[in-house]
Amino acid sequence: MTVKHIQTPGRSTAIAGLDAIFQPQSIAVLGVTNTPGTVPHDIFVNLLSAKFQGVVYPVAPRKRHIAGVRAYDYVLDIPDPVDLAILVFPGAVCEQALKQCIEKGIKAAIIISAGFREIGPTGVEREKRVRAIASEAGMRLIGPNCLGVINTEPHVLLNASFARAMPAAGNIGFLSQSGALCTAVLDYAQGKGIGFSKFVSLGNKADVDEVDMLEYLATDPRTSVILMYLESMSRGKELIEVARRVTSEGDHPKPVLAIKGGRTAAGAAAAQSHTGALAASDVVCNAVFEQAGIIRSSSLEELFNSAQLLAYQPLPRGRRLAIVTNAGGPGVMATDAAIEQGLEMARFSPETAVKLKKALPAAANMKNPIDVIGDARDDRYVAAMEAVFNDEGVDQVLVILTPQSMTNITAIAKAVCEVHDRFRSSGKTLACSFMGAKDVAQGIHILQQHLIPHYILPEWATDAMTKAVHFRHWLNRDRTGFKEYRMDMATADAVITKAPDGYLTEADALKVLKAYGFPLVDYKLTQTADEAVAVAEKIGYPVVLRVVSPKIVHKFEMKGVVLDLQDAKQLREAYIRMRENLLKHVSAEDIQGILVRQMIPAGKEVILGINRDPVFGHVIMFGLGGIYVEAFKDVTFRVVPIREATARSMVNSLRASGVLRGLRGEKPSDVGAIEDALKRLSQLAQDFPRIAELDINPLIVHPAGEGCHVADVRIRLQS
């Protein structure tokens, strides 16, 4: 093995194994042909054209040479050691080829060939066999069914792909599950002057997946921003853990941005609880990304808009934005967008105001956004930029230009670059929007050459700036651990172990919650009205009646709940009426009894829940509760386990979180009690994988210091 390993502390062997893919010194391409315009030919030629800094060996049975390079019948015929094999043979013979590669001692392979999982059952089996062959030999594998891999490092210059051209070198690492998207991205990036450090098409992910690549790129000194296009994820928990580490830890945490396409929540149709129905949407994915520090984008444009800013500019110190523009309208639009997206317009210091007044004509707007007016040439831009770069109250600067007859576009672009260089040490973030297409093209080119992020629309710039601020907040967040409670696990276990799949009765569900320390009011299961009255006398009026029956899930609809019973007379009448009514729908044997419970004092209604996601495992949900929960969908999710700060962020991230903080002089609700309940729920989900769905709806939250109470709970088990 001749691969040069990057000596990075803490790098796992598995990740170090990827060096053979990205930094090989010798490559064998198996299945090369002499037919231009075909993948097996072009991929070999691409290796040569990119000026790969190692040796390449074409393996092409019964051919003397390929593109002037001596060819070998079999990989075993190559006389020298080989680091990386690239397979372009048809899928049907890849197993045979891979076995020879292993015999040759090759430690990594890229299978470009199609004909695997994507073609159906035959391909699925073939992919399993290929994975098994590689895994047994400790070989790392990219693909199959992929575009290939690119490494722009000058000492490597690897274009092991059938992309049309080698991209420019840069500090962005890109990985994609879609090969076709890769070619589009390369072309798009070339048009925008964006370069890459590593570029990877993962294909069917038989071995190397996004989790491996995140770990690898985290240790790559040439990558400072990581972009991902994902369609499916199989190692959800590992993705969260690794992404969280990449975006948070080490000397140089790296932003990770992702587009997630085609997510469908398996099992959505089967979900019967509120939590299940709400968790079936893409919001779980959003929550996962938020929990992992991944910045989610909905389009390529948005992805690269953010990537440019994060890759080229210092991370913003804060939200305070200064805008310099030669046009009022775009300045106003940019201001609106900035405010809506969560930035703040900087308030200039008196010194800045004096400088601006001195340098700009009287008609100019000296306040933010600074309008240097339509006839501005480069000198006015320079004066305004110098003033705001020197102002301590400014974190970010957006320069807007519209092409007017007197606008010297290229001179202004050069001046922007010059000011940017001069104030590089200020740590302020700069973005530009030269609006238009043809007239501004040369100016944009100058900015791009200078690695100053450019956006055709100012609102794209402010969106990227906002996302960069979010990443700054992510880095500055409270770093908390997991709280571990002492629970009566034995009691909960006794209930859950003996119960069959399906819903627990309310009595059993309450027993589980009680064992996990959830705040419950006194209750007792009764069989007769007399017994109910005796219980009520003991626990005190007012009380609530709730039927307990495995056949009745939606109690309110079936009139199986009566609230606020003030005395024995009311209780007795309600008890008899409820029983008579229920017997019209279910048999007497199906009614296990009627719970008599203390009436919970009024408070804010919230919902807490657990759902089991096919990719991420248990997720917990929090939202404003009651019967409108699914209509408003003001809920938030996190993957279990949750940290202390995560519980807090769940409560704060609701659109209506102000309701809990107290509106119009109301006392704030006991948010600490909600956070406590969320952490207990997280522990419950971790301890009992059989819990498929759980709803606490509502949890009644009382004013601060007075706690909360579980009003209703449903737990569904599934092995």
């Binding site: 037919t35 019964r62 051919k63 048809p90 049907a92 013979v93």
Partner: protein, 79 residues
Amino acid sequence: MSQKEILDRVKAVTARVLGVDAGTINDNSNFIFDLGAESSQSIELVAAFEEEFSIEMEEDAALAVQTVGDAATFIAKYL
């Protein structure tokens, strides 16, 4: 037609279409992996076999055949 005769004629056709020495082809030779057949040549091979034996084969199944020996067995089913 005997199996040996079919095999010999399959080897001769293969050598002609792929431009390889018939003496180097054996029953286990894989059209792609050992003899270097490209995808267009695989289609040519199927057509040449059909002409040689005056038969019409199911194309997808024929293209899935990997070795010379298997090709002879496959063709025999049509004779």
